[in-house]
Symmetry: C2
Subunit: 215 residues, 2 copies
């Protein structure tokens, strides 16, 4: 086949894989990860088992793709929401909010992560994949905070590694939201309090003066 | 049977249930919650299936007991660790640390919680049980913080509900620790930074003065 014919075929291939991934999200949301067999996902996707097997050689490959696709979609939602907003506080807030189960798409991704996490405790390959994803997300936040300090948006007394760790840890709102112990508004209020305290530039008594060379 | 004979029998009964619960923790730790069938737990506990069924009428009852026993053990570890320490900052720190997978017992409890959480998304009864446990834990923290404000250990500008929510959310360190993205020391450093910032009594510019009637 020529190159001209290959392009639309590749696009279809990717689109079809994404459709299957979304079907998998729905199965995980309603039945848990254990229910996400290739057979069940093909039923949800209105496809035959053979078709799903054409796009994914194994359940593991299908799960990995669905997880990575969820991460990409989250990243995309973050970029869209951030838009032209330049202040790192808004970027951090949007990132945190998109990691929490506050709307159907982020809830699907969050439930998949939780289910993967539990499964990964007994599966070294899955563990490595999850570790890499979580570490990358954390490192992106740390880089952003380091830049925020350099740009004077965050007090220079803040340790960007510690702040990034605290932000990622706040995804611990997930079980509180999933179980209805907290309403979304209460989680958001707590996140705002954390960000206020983190970004505060005390007017009367800075913890540490700006070094002259940095201004 | 007389009452004298009943007492040791009841003690044995409770002890035996706790042994089975600990066997269940080990099964969950190594195989996940799905692996924790009555048969597998009886094998781990060196008991017959019939013996386990004598102590628990169903798998659900066994799981519920194991979860509640884990929560009790966590509470007991907290009381032991807190001991005579009176400052609420230490109480809060010990509570947080005991909720994280930093040693074998708390790791077993933490893994059980995570597995239960994933299962609970598709099981309303389990969901209600988990919700009650999490809400109670959160409410205990809020009460403690309210008292800390009344005693002048926490700035009166703090909202005890918001602070309790942030503390519970910090159990989000769990996946970071489980996957080895963070070393325990880094999680503890971040927790200390959070507590420092939360408990800080600014000397130069209190956010809100203490009302005269409260001093």
């Amino acid at each position: 086949m020529g190159r001209v014919a290959d392009v639309p075929k590749k696009v279809d291939h990717q689109e079809r894989r994404e459709e299957i991934a979304r079907a998998l999200w729905r199965v995980v949301e309603h039945q848990g990860l254990a229910g996400a067999t290739m057979r069940e996902v093909s039923r949800e996707a209105n496809a035959s088992l053979g078709q799903v097997q054409h796009y994914f050689s194994s359940r593991t490959e299908m799960l990995a793709f669905a997880m990575e696709y969820a991460a990409e979609q989250t990243a995309q939602r973050v970029s869209l929401a951030v838009g032209e907003v330049a202040h790192p506080r808004d970027v951090v807030r949007v990132t945190l909010v998109e990691m929490l189960p506050l709307h159907p798409d982020s809830r699907a991704a969050s439930r998949m992560s939780a289910a993967y996490m539990v499964e990964a405790l007994h599966d070294p390959e899955l563990q490595e994949r999850l570790r890499a994803g979580l570490r990358d997300g954390r490192d992106v936040l740390e880089h952003l905070l380091r830049q925020a300090i350099a740009d004077g948006h965050l007090p220079p007394s803040r340790d960007p590694a510690v702040e990034a760790n605290l932000l990622v840890a706040l995804t611990g709102f997930t079980p509180l939201l999933e179980l209805g112990v907290l309403e979304p508004a209460a989680a958001l209020a707590a996140i705002d309090e954390h960000l206020d305290r983190m970004f505060v530039q005390s007017e009367c008594c800075p913890v540490r003066p700006f070094p002259a060379g940095n201004r």
